[in-house]
């Protein structure tokens, strides 16, 4: 039982360690990478199942009693996020088997990929604020390496912006954490929540909560702190883009939801209104930025920003329905966004470019790809009955319940503009005239790929597309999961009892 909480961190670590040991054996690393991520996914699913059945799980590492030791804790939100992280890891590793070039594979791509997954799982499962910082750094350092691996010129330029701004964000996080410890003398999140709810230092803690908002806001690309994202996400190989786009900003959103529901929920009228306004601005600026772009991955990168706005919107409203909407939105978004990046990678394989004006006619040459793109893009824009429709519906309903007409109108308007961007990609890349000469150059043409290689590219996309359809057509169980997770977030007593109750 307790092992179950540690395994989602341990399995990627072991996989990464063995990948490093097998440094010169590319084939062995590929096999190990795929097996490791499959095991990771199974364990994560088992964790979700257990948390769903038995309620919040907590374990004290090294048997040091809380609040002195480091606590690992999984409530439903953590478990859902762990599953999503593992699922993205699994699909992207399978996709990488074909899409990643052999040079990067030889220089430890799979090892760093699994270290990234370890960091992400650690962030989701830890119950200690300083430990959260350490997991963040594990995740960031592996993401730095994945982003710069290969050392192409534009990659390095993107990495510089990404590295600098993320280091500033970590610095702010550490500052806020240090001051919080100085005031309250504890770093255990359950213990912190208990002490903050007693009303100690209320004024300073509201100030500190804003410092946390800025630090996590940079990581989750909120307005006006998002500029590192569109400058870097389109530079690495597409598999790396896909895992970044799917997971990393959502790790920031998860920490925002966690700290602003567990710790800083004492002055909701002040803090959560700020979050709500930022959410609205994030949605609008992201989608407007996307309209100006003409490159597949840059458009998608800007849409990550506007979608993060939706997730934070639910946190800003802070009602049970709104938080459930946020969690549902995260589930839908991670799957859809990763899939769109994977589609862009195959389009690039077929016609050699991410520029929309050099793509065309994919509708004829790759009908399966077109169907997958259509499902994901329409879901992103919120067309019924796909998953994005339900996600937006819940959030808009939650806004209207709170008489937030402006934010509801913003959410709907941004949905419409999202459709415009997706239609632009559709019209240029899938429908338009096929270019007479492809920009492939000396690259391996699509026809020479073996069936196994094509399967490795298509299987993850089909899996994620099918999941999008499933969430759309049978949304009830997923919605119930999100509702239960939101209820757990809004009554922190359960979380606190699970962590501190054992002493």
């Amino acid at each position: 039982m307790k092992l179950l909480l540690i395994l989602p961190i341990l399995i990627p670590l072991i996989t990464a360690a063995f990948c490093l040991l097998l440094w010169r054996r590319r084939t062995a690393q590929r096999l190990l990478g795929a097996l490791g991520s499959a095991a990771h996914l199974l364990v994560a699913l088992l964790l979700l199942w257990t948390v769903r059945q038995d309620g919040i799980l907590a374990t004290q590492v090294g048997n040091w009693p809380a609040p002195f030791g480091i606590t690992l804790v999984a409530d439903l939100l953590s478990a859902i996020m762990t599953v999503l992280g593992a699922l993205m890891g699994f699909t992207v590793v399978i996709y990488s088997l074909t899409s990643m070039d052999s040079d990067r594979e030889s220089f430890g791509y799979y090892a760093f990929f699994h270290l990234l997954l370890m960091g992400v799982s650690g962030v989701f499962l830890t119950g200690d604020l300083f430990n959260l910082y350490v997991w963040f750094e594990v995740m960031l350092l592996s993401s730095f390496i994945l982003l710069a691996l290969g050392g192409e010129k534009h990659q390095l330029e993107g990495a510089i912006k990404y590295v600098t701004l993320n280091l500033v964000s970590s610095a702010l996080f550490l500052t806020a954490l240090g001051i919080l410890y100085g005031m309250l003398g504890t770093l255990n999140m359950a213990d912190l929540a208990l002490q903050i709810s007693e009303g100690k230092h209320a004024g300073v803690i509201s100030t500190l909560s804003m410092l946390f908002l800025v630090a996590f806001g940079i990581k989750s690309a909120l307005f006006p702190l998002f500029f590192w994202l569109p400058a870097s996400y389109h530079t690495p190989p597409v598999a790396v883009s896909a895992i970044f786009a799917g997971l990393l900003t959502k790790v920031g959103v998860y920490t925002l939801i966690r700290v602003f529901s567990l710790l800083f929920a004492m002055d909701i009228a002040y803090t959560h209104t700020i979050i709500l306004v930022i959410a609205g601005l994030t949605m609008v600026t992201g989608v407007l930025g996307a309209m100006a772009q003409n490159e597949f991955r840059r458009i998608l990168s800007f849409h990550i920003i506007s979608q993060v706005g939706y997730m934070v919107l639910g946190l800003g409203l802070f009602t049970p329905l709104a938080l459930a909407g946020s969690i549902f939105y995260i589930m839908h978004h991670i799957i859809v966004k990763t899939n769109l990046f994977l589609v862009s990678g195959v389009a690039r394989r077929l016609q050699g470019s991410y520029q929309l004006d050099r793509l065309g006619g994919l509708y004829q040459t790759a009908p399966a790809l077109t169907v997958i793109f259509m499902i994901s893009a329409f879901s992103l824009a919120g067309i019924p009955p796909l998953s994005g429709f339900w996600a937006k519906l819940i959030l808009v309903k939650a806004s209207l319940d709170m008489s937030g007409y402006i934010i509801a109108a913003t959410a709907l308007g941004v949905g419409l503009l999202t459709l415009f961007s997706m239609a632009k990609i559709w019209a240029a890349a899938f429908w338009g005239e096929a270019p007479e000469t492809t920009a492939l150059g000396a690259e391996q043409p699509w026809k020479t790929f073996s069936l196994a290689e094509k399967t490795a590219l298509y299987l993850p996309m089909i899996l994620l597309g099918a999941l999008t359809l499933t969430i759309g057509l049978m949304s009830q169980p997923f919605f119930e999961l999100a509702t239960t997770a939101a209820e757990q977030l809004l009554s922190p007593a359960g979380y606190i009892d699970a962590v501190l109750g054992g002493k």
């Binding site: 300083f130 050392g151 280091l167 389109h234 530079t235």
Partner: protein, 115 residues
């Protein structure tokens, strides 16, 4: 002592952020170094400087009754130092590789991936 340390932290933060905003990559790295040192000092000071009282807690109590010197901030700082050392080493290599492969001398010349 605490006031002196607070002023030092403030000066280090100010210098760090000022250097972060300059165009030169070397200054940017130095800014990051100063920032991480400022934070280490901040954690050290924020948790109260108490001299000569060892944190010995009776076996039956959870917390000591009177204020004692707290060893945990130093453990936190040690961790933070190790992490920032690793990250800054990576950042240094990244910057040197980038400026070797692009022939740029200022961060203003790095705009090709911006939008």
């Amino acid at each position: 002592m605490e006031i002196l340390a607070a002023i030092v932290v403030g000066v280090l933060f100010g210098c760090g952020i000022y250097l972060l905003m300059s165009r030169s990559p070397v200054r940017l790295i130095i800014g990051l170094v100063l920032l991480s040192n400022a934070i280490n000092l901040l954690i050290f000071v924020a948790a109260d400087l108490i001299r000569g009282k060892a944190p010995l807690i009776p076996p039956d109590a959870l917390r000591s009754a009177e204020a004692t010197a707290d060893p945990l901030p130093q453990a936190l700082i040690l961790t933070a130092i190790v992490i920032s050392f690793g990250v800054l080493a990576f950042a240094l290599v990244l910057f040197s590789r980038t400026f070797k492969s692009t022939d740029a001398t200022s961060l203003d010349e790095m705009k090709t991936t911006d939008t």
